[in-house]
């Protein structure tokens, strides 16, 4: 088992190197640091000296890959690639274009993101699995038919409308909870209810429909027919046999998104003013802070790969038929 996990992790290394190269090429080769400086300082009335200063402050004045002015190891380390890209591997994100320490910001902003994402995921799972199982119970009837249509309709609504509609209805019309904001500790609770609720409602359509297909696939298998022919009641069949087996694909599907929960939700956090990593990213995009965007691209990719490895492992754990090869 541990050999398998190690091999799986080694396989992730070339992918990480590839991602690192892509971000390096995107941010430093396609566009030179001069372009970035011009963008930040404004193209009019900007002198060469200002650009040079801007680059020096942020360490963009170094050559890209090989420093001819340095000798020995310095020729490789005193470069943008080493300073800005290679250091990402040890999660040294450096400082943002506005001078703040990105690593510190991330460690601070991770928690609000998690506080929002984890309840959304757990309660959402509970709700959608219950709904999907109910629909599967009524399979082939009008309830099933209309439930699927409602699911398709729910999928067709842009996530923006869920957020705007929820804010308007619950925050503004009914005035139950504040529209946006955040607080520390338990006081954050009243700010979290609405975004969590909206996150759950927004996911109902696609997840219920997906889980319904999983349940139906399971219901049509031989062992279920056997269970029925034994004379078991529909409830026992659904809960004891179908639900348990269908949970395997559902839960392994959840595992892949677990690490990404750290990244938070871009839209929800932005709309509700929650100081998580999602709004951090959006702010960085709007301020055109390339250092933060670069760090978040790399962090997101790493978390995704961790998710893939975890998925593989969880498959082998829940299903003994899958051999570790």
């Amino acid at each position: 088992m541990s050999a398998y996990i190690i091999r799986r992790m080694l396989y992730a290394i070339p992918i990480l190197i590839g991602i690192n190269l892509i971000t390096f090429i995107l941010f430093f080769v396609v566009n030179s640091p001069d372009d970035m400086a011009l963008m930040q300082l404004g193209s009019k009335h900007t002198t060469e000296l200002q650009i040079e200063d801007w680059k020096r402050e942020r360490g963009y004045h170094l050559p890209l890959l090989y420093n001819t002015e340095q000798s020995g190891l310095g020729a490789v380390t005193e470069t943008i690639f080493y300073q800005k890209s290679a250091k990402l591997f040890v999660f040294d994100f450096g400082s943002s274009d506005s001078g703040r320490d990105i690593g510190y910001d991330i460690s601070q902003r991770m928690w609000p993101s998690l506080a929002l994402a984890i309840p959304t995921l757990l309660v959402g799972l509970l709700v959608t699995i219950t709904l999907a199982l109910t629909i599967a119970f009524f399979r082939g009837t009008y309830i099933d038919y209309w439930a699927v249509i409602i699911c398709v309709a729910l999928i067709s609504i842009s996530s923006l409308f869920y957020i705007i509609g929820g804010q308007f209805l619950i925050g503004k019309l009914l005035k139950i909870v504040p529209i946006s904001g955040f607080d520390t500790g338990l006081h954050a609770l009243k700010f979290m209810i609405l975004p969590v609720l909206i996150g759950i409602v927004g996911g109902i359509g696609s997840n219920t429909r997906w889980y319904r297909t999983i349940f139906l696939e399971e219901i049509n298998k031989d062992y279920v027919r056997t269970a029925r022919s034994k004379g078991l009641s529909e409830q026992v069949v659904l809960f004891k046999h179908v639900l348990r087996n269908a949970l395997i694909p559902i839960l392994t599907g959840v595992v892949v998104v677990l690490p990404l929960l750290f990244m938070g939700s871009l839209l929800t956090e932005n709309f509700f003013g929650i100081p998580g990593l999602g709004s951090y990213t959006i702010d960085a995009i709007n301020r055109q802070d390339f250092a933060i965007v670069r760090a978040m691209v790399f962090l997101g990719s790493v978390l995704y790969i961790i998710g893939l490895v975890l998925t593989d492992i969880s498959y082998t754990l829940v299903d003994p038929r899958i051999r570790l090869s």
Binding site: I164, F168, T213, V297, S301
Partner: protein, 471 residues
């Protein structure tokens, strides 16, 4: 000629793609094994109704893609001056809605402005009141009393016109059909009414009546009112929403120009040749897939902005710049979304390769290239079609989200995302300015809903087994 035609890059690609689609329809019609699943799609009520609505949207996008510079003034006898503005055929059809700018917000079908203003009343005193709008309801003398009656009468006349056009078109089609089939018209009527036809003609007739009614009524009301009100700068919201159709459709359609070649070529090569080529291609798509898509798009669009701010002189007009940005967005959306299809096609090629007919072809000495082209690719085309149709709605939705984060289409371009983005700030007003959001919602929801319904029908018809567990 009173105009000078001009072609934006996206127009040309869109027309090219449309021609491709039309020729695809002709190819399919001739081959029974290809046309069977499609006739199954058309025979289902959901399938044909959603296809009609999608085609309606597509037609709006097509009309909106015929661009030209309108003529402004005649300098000499033979020389004309052309405006630098770019208009489309749709702009001409919707001239009253495009050109009648109010001062600022006004509610749907309102005759008075949304905000109070200082005005002089009849006795010459200044007072705060809601001013009359410049254009909406300007033909009424007593808008408070006459408005409702006027709107009803315009709608009724428009409905009568719409229904008579509709009846005329359907009668002539059915008459021709009855002549060809040598059956009486009344019999055909009866069959349609009882829904006994092979294709769901009753539902199609009903949908076409509805579309005709909506089009004619909204166009007629738009001559005298603002159907969905006006936005902050006084522009007609209905006009904006209709103009956004092109953006939405183009994002959904042009992206396939990138995804399909990449996915088909790389997927087939990886599955067919295996070995190091397979490893390489797998590596490429796993790497690309690992980067969070929104962030990759954000990074790419940020870089485009850097490029555009550095090369502002390269673009003749704002329209051209916005157009290029749209194209770039399609490109980057394509680059992030080909990986899923590529994986499916690789797996399918893997399976097909082991089939006996391919081994037979190899034994006959058919070249590898020919086997790929003639024996492998045609046999996974259904997966390609299903995936294209399934992805379409997601792309339309993605446009709105990306425009919201300011990494979508150009802010000057009409799009549902931009409409939502601008309208969102007005939600804090009291009373709420709700019409921009509602218009964007209605237009986008209709398109995405019917695209989703259509995709389900197509998937069931073409191949119910695959893409099941896929999200």
């Amino acid at each position: 000629m009173s105009m000078q035609p001009t072609f934006l890059i996206t127009d040309l690609l869109f027309f090219g793609l449309t021609l491709g689609l039309i020729s695809f329809v002709f190819v399919v019609r001739k081959r029974p094994h290809l046309s069977r699943p499609w006739s199954q799609v058309l025979k289902s009520t959901t399938g044909s109704v959603s296809l009609m609505i999608l085609l309606f949207y597509y037609a709006i996008a097509l009309i909106d893609s015929v661009h030209f510079h309108p003529r402004v003034a005649q300098a000499t006898e033979s020389q004309y001056q052309y405006s630098s503005e770019v208009h489309s055929l749709l702009d001409v059809l919707m001239t009253p809605m495009r050109s009648r700018m109010e001062k600022t917000f006004s509610a749907p079908l309102a005759t008075h402005s949304f905000a109070k203003e200082m005005m002089q009343n009849e006795s010459g005193q200044m007072q705060r009141d809601y001013p009359r709008l410049n254009y909406a309801g300007a033909h009424l003398t007593q808008p408070e009393d006459e408005k409702v009656a006027d709107i009803i009468s315009i709608s009724l006349i428009a409905s009568a016109r719409a229904l008579s056009y509709w009846a005329l078109i359907w009668l002539s089609i059915l008459w021709l059909y009855s002549r060809r089939q040598q059956r009486s018209l009344t019999l055909i009527f009866k069959q349609i009414l009882k829904a006994q036809t092979a294709y769901p003609l009753r539902a199609i007739a009903f949908t076409s009546a509805l579309l005709m009614l909506l089009t004619v009524i909204s166009m007629q009301l738009g001559q005298h009112y603002h159907l969905f009100g006006t936005d902050k700068v006084g522009q007609d919201v209905f006009y904006q929403a209709v103009k956004s159709v092109r953006t939405g459709i183009l994002i959904g359609v042009l992206t396939t120009l990138i995804t399909l070649p990449l996915a088909i070529l790389l997927g087939a090569l990886a599955g067919f040749f295996r070995g190091w080529l397979d490893d390489l291609i797998q590596y490429i798509y796993t790497t690309l897939n690992s980067i969070p898509h929104v962030l990759l798009i954000a990074a790419a669009v940020l870089l485009l902005q850097v490029y555009m701010s550095g090369h502002a002189d390269d673009f003749d007009s704002l329209t051209e710049r916005a157009d290029l940005r749209l194209l770039f967005l399609c490109l980057i959306l394509g680059i992030t979304s080909w990986t899923g299809l590529c994986r499916l096609l690789r797996a399918e090629t893997f399976k097909l390769r082991e089939m006996e007919y391919i081994q037979a072809a190899e034994a006959f000495g058919v070249s590898k290239f020919k086997i790929l082209m003639r024996h492998v690719m045609p046999n996974f085309m259904h997966i390609v079609i299903i995936s294209v149709v399934l992805d379409f709605s997601g792309l339309v939705l993605a446009e709105a989200v990306l425009s919201y984060i300011n990494i979508g289409v150009d802010p000057s371009m009409n799009s549902w995302g931009n409409m939502i983005n601008q309208a969102r700030l007005e939600m804090a007003r009291d009373p709420v300015v709700w019409w921009s959001l509602s218009a964007a919602f209605i237009f986008m929801f209709t398109l995405v809903l019917f695209a989703n319904l259509f995709a389900d029908v197509v998937r069931d018809a073409l191949d119910p087994r695959i893409v099941r567990g896929e999200r």
